[in-house]
Amino acid sequence: MSNPLADMELPEVIFCIGTNMTECHPVAATRLKKAIARGAKLIVADPRRIRLAEMADLYLPLQVGTDTALLSGMAHVIARDGLVDWDFIERRTENIEAYLEHLEQFTPKKVAAITGVPADDIVEAARWYGSAGAAAIFYTLGITEHICGVQNVQSLSNLALLAGQVGRPGTGINPMRGQNNVQGTGDSGALPNNYCGFQSVLEEGHRRKFSEAYGIEMDAEKGVTKVTALHKILDGEIKAMLIVGENTVASDADREHCEKALNALDHLVVLDLFMNETTALADVVFPASSWGETDGVFVNTERRLQRVRQAVAPKGAKPDWWIISQIAQRMGTAGFEYESAKDVFNELCSLSPIYAGIDWDMIETGQYHWPVPFKGHPGTPRLHEERFPSGRGKFVLTDYVAPGEVVSKKFPVWLTTGRRLMHYHTATMTGRSSGIEYLQKEEELEVNPADVEAWGLTDGGKARVESPRGHVDVRVKATHRSPTGTVFCSFSFSEVPINDLTGSGYDPVTETAEFKVCPVRVTPA
């Protein structure tokens, strides 16, 4: 997030797009509710009539996968109606002329035809956002899990730059991070393009720094994403893999392809809490310490570094850092002689400019948001107040890209996937916690009541959902949360492995799968 969580209580206008915040980030949503109670206006763009949509002053029910068109349409109106923040644009941005010219085509009428959102509502949303003293954007995987995920994010950035809604309290472009430490994992350099602290692997200075730190000549080229890595297994290039705490088989798109790849490895080592679909393919499985059993650091969605602490001793399991260090030491690799999580974290700080001002002891109370570039620096709750990391914020020309697969005669229904309040991901944790089953005991396909009737389904009965990659049978729930022609399913229940169906396309830059859009056929089972 560009802005801290506390800023969520400050905007005059809140624009949520592709985020089911009351279910996926419930505690962040409480801050939005307070802002709304105080009089803030809420705009929600989402294909599904989720709780947030019910709370909205203006709800934009866009067709799945049409976010870029909607955002360009809003930007068109901001430009057309004289709501552009020229002072901000002159001081902080570049490429405005080309962008304004590019926007001309995105008239509300044209955008309404693509998105299904009434033109008047697009105009209204643009005016609210563009004329607010402080307006903030919140988004989640509804923006990124598309074939055009990068374009979607760039479109949000364009919109915020155009209206000057960045770098001040109650503004910003705020992705809500979905996992407890997904931010910290990126910070730590578990990426094929960056060393820790988001230091690009392409820069010679970084290459020299890490070649020295790690005692080996580092590549000057980027690595590959895990999506490409699966292909490289089947090509015979990658032969061994270490997977830490991820049920790759169940949570990734196109399960069959994933299983085939992992099966083709000579050597698969997995660290996890439980046996699961992925450990089943492993050559070695290590029992990992869980939350509550480990000391360490989590970095939250607002870039705040917080300590987690061991409350109970694990029964037989060991911390990840210890297991990985032991393997490396047995391979004869130097530099893994750690005695505690603290040692590891302090090394990470010493190599990361964004953590240069902190260490293990300093984050005891969790007051620091990175970047903390030097000792004595107070941390940075709000990004981009004075400048962008690259200097000026660049308007990027984005175009509407249709999903990787679109509905057809054979697969006439849009499937979109996500989480629910009661469960988390593949339910390895929530599914093993007593009481949760009282509230949500099985998966339900959310179908509009009109479609339930039209497709010959029954509320509470079973349906078969099919895509070109596979099929699942699932119980039907008639609900107006789903618009006609679109159904929703979570990926939390192993009995309904919905990712057997997904994987119709991948963003060409991030290689994130299009989990949010998949044409399917729905019939009574």
């Binding site: 997904v182 490396a328 988390y424």
Partner: protein, 358 residues
């Protein structure tokens, strides 16, 4: 913006400064005066229901509720004397008429559950001075697994109603009837699961008597081991809510939110509050496993570490691009840092990623 502390008043003979708009209670708190309360939660709008926080103000005929009375320049306030103590004790004795002081309130019930019993002790309220009818009817029929609705202990402080409305924004809890017949309830007096309740647990944690209680934690009420609390951060989504993990003898028995948690300020959701049993689940792996003759079988740490290292060494010797690693967005940073270092320091490649790509 906070207003400047540029006004002066006197509390218990001491001159203190305050900002316009502050209540007497807030000023007294800042100056380390101990004023008892039951309906007060500093995250909520002051309510003035319990009247325990009354103080004397020079020139006022009757004591006033300090939580709702704004401080004003030149005010002279007394927070503690024999008259106020007697008044407070009488109020507490009225509370005690429905909540016997000798009844045991397990600290597992909720974070604020000890407030009433602590005041009984402080003010020497031991027996029931007043006898009378009981108000509030418990709901043993609510079979939800998380929240005990023990309204016999309710004192109608409305903290649950207010926290649900003001902090959580769900308005799932409401009040039925008035006066002595007041009853905390939900829409249509039904079960919580049929209301707007999301089982976030905020009502449980603010209840000062344990009338609303953590049903899961109470499973361990009979265990004589003391409750230990460890400050940590929730392991589910990326909001980063601070929690206190409650343990008894090496077992997690419950979770309480940290009211001073910077990300959550005392809020949690149903997962963070109640979905912790997986830690002690019998499905947990307790020993390494190695594949032998096609089957994963238990192995010693020594053997498993050797087999793991051997396989990676073989791949490394074959080609430095033959090894790949995927880090976890669920594990602490130290795990991810070493996962990437494992690849980079062993092979000099960038063949590493994390689970965020989905």
């Amino acid at each position: 913006m906070n207003k400047p502390l540029d006004q002066r008043m006197t509390i218990d003979g001491q001159e203190v400064i305050f900002a316009e708009g502050e209540t007497i209670y807030a000023v007294a708190q800042r100056n380390a005066r101990s004023i008892p309360t039951l309906c007060y939660d500093d995250r909520l709008e002051a309510f003035g229901a319990c009247r325990l926080c009354v103080v004397e103000v020079e020139g006022y005929r009757n004591p006033v509720a300090s939580c709702t009375t704004p401080a004003s320049a030149g005010m002279v306030v007394t927070t503690k004397n024999a008259t106020l103590d007697k008044h407070r004790k009488t109020l507490l004795e009225l509370v005690a008429s429905e909540n016997p002081p000798d009844a045991d309130v397990s600290p597992l019930r909720g974070k604020a559950s000890q407030e009433m019993t602590e005041l009984f002790t402080e003010y020497g309220v031991t027996g029931a001075r007043f006898e009378g009818k009981k108000s509030g009817t418990s709901r043993p029929d609510d079979d939800n697994p998380f929240i005990l609705r023990d309204y016999d202990r309710c004192i109608s402080c409305y903290r649950c109603v207010r926290v649900c409305a003001e902090q959580e924004g769900d308005f799932a809890i409401s009040v039925m009837n008035r006066g002595f017949s007041t009853q905390i309830t939900t829409e249509f007096s039904g079960l919580l699961k049929d209301s707007d309740c999301t089982f976030c647990g905020q009502c449980v944690q603010t209840c000062p008597t344990g009338a609303l209680a953590d049903k899961k934690a109470l499973r361990f009420a009979e265990d004589p081991a003391p409750v230990k609390k460890t400050r940590s951060v929730c392991g589910y989504c990326g909001v980063g809510c601070s929690v206190d993990i409650m343990t008894k003898g090496g077992r997690i028995v419950g979770i309480q939110p940290a009211f001073d948690g910077p990300a959550n300020e005392g809020a949690l959701c149903v997962k963070g509050q109640f979905a912790f049993d997986f830690v002690h689940h019998t499905d947990r792996l307790t020993t390494p496993h190695v594949r032998k003759e096609g089957k994963l079988v238990p192995a010693s740490w020594e053997e498993a570490l050797d087999v793991a290292a051997e396989g990676f060494l073989k791949a490394k010797n074959h080609d430095r691009y033959a090894t790949y690693a995927i880090a976890s967005g669920r594990a602490p940073s130290e795990s991810s840092y070493l996962t990437q270092k494992f690849i980079r320091a062993n092979n000099g490649t960038h063949y590493v990623d994390n689970c965020s790509r989905g």
